[in-house]
Assembly symmetry: C2
Homo-oligomer: 181 residues x 2
């Protein structure tokens, strides 16, 4: 769902031009020469959870590209008409079929290079039985030592997991804001 | 910049249909009958700062719609190729012409009804002289008692300011995550 640049006007369908608009803007935008609509392309939010069972974390083995067969936390693109927490809960249900209670906000990770912000909540698992959806080959619990660190699908997930286990060892959770370049 | 629904395919320009796609999705999307592209519409991030000078906060009187003439914290839509903090700093420069150092992340505010997430950082002002851009009629410092609470442009701003002043009185800042319905 990485969006290719807009080629046609989303309002009238005419081919767009890429240029600085005439309204005082300073950035190059897709501008429609027919209906004069200026189109903005903005970052996307990816929302997910760290589902916890005792000292273990739930990871999902991806059944889809990108990173087919690699392990990830349940996460996906935030939708309209939901909060960050609601989107994170939806993805956890869809990808892991887990029973859980949402916990506290945990991390905000910027990946400016690809125009994304990743947002993770902690979640408390109510069962160690999972019913993953079609996007997931397998959902399994891992202690820190068991995590397949070399087989993690995304750096946002690996860096969030490292901070989670460090906080868990320290016995105190805080909110982590960081960038991946 | 509140986006009206997409009417034409951004790839080929053909008029789209709104329906559930054939790929296992469960939500209604804009689907192109000509090139079969599925178009997703996602929430937008609004990023800004709480610029602080002693016990005062910098507010900007809006020179643009919506809420012309009302007071706001410097904030605007996050752009591609920037982090939340970089976007918040950019808006603070553009709208207030302030000299400042970025501080810590302060609030994440969901407004699911309009598909937005607002994200505020604290900022430390280095001067009490401002050079606001065309979007701002006036930039001025306010103590908590002086804030024109009935003339605040957006609830995200009012609710963020209330929590900021409460933390300041308590002598300890934390990160605030909340929803506006
Ligand atoms: Zn057009
Ligand atoms: Zn098309």
């Amino acid at each position: 769902m990485h969006r290719p640049p807009l080629q046609h006007c989303r309002k009238c369908g005419h081919a767009v031009e890429y240029r600085i608009p005439d309204d005082g803007d300073t950035k190059i935008r897709a501008v429609c020469p027919a209906c004069h609509t200026v189109h903005y392309d903005n970052p996307l939010n990816v929302v997910g959870t760290i589902p916890v069972w005792d000292n273990k974390v739930l990871l999902c083995k991806r059944n889809i590209e990108p990173r087919f067969g690699k392990w990830t936390l349940p996460a996906g693109f935030m939708e309209l008409n939901e909060t960050v927490a609601e989107g994170a809960a939806r993805e956890t249900l869809e990808e892991a079929g887990a029973q859980f209670e949402m916990g506290e906000f945990f991390s905000l990770v910027n990946i400016a290079r690809v125009g994304q912000v990743h947002l993770f909540y902690r979640a408390r698992l109510l069962s160690d039985q999972f019913d993953p959806g079609f996007e997931t080959i397998e959902a399994r619990l891992f202690t820190e030592d068991e995590v397949p660190w070399d087989e993690i699908a995304f750096r946002t997930v690996g860096e969030t997991l490292k901070r989670f286990f460090a906080d868990q060892r320290a016995g105190q959770f805080s909110i982590h804001v960081f960038d991946i370049t």
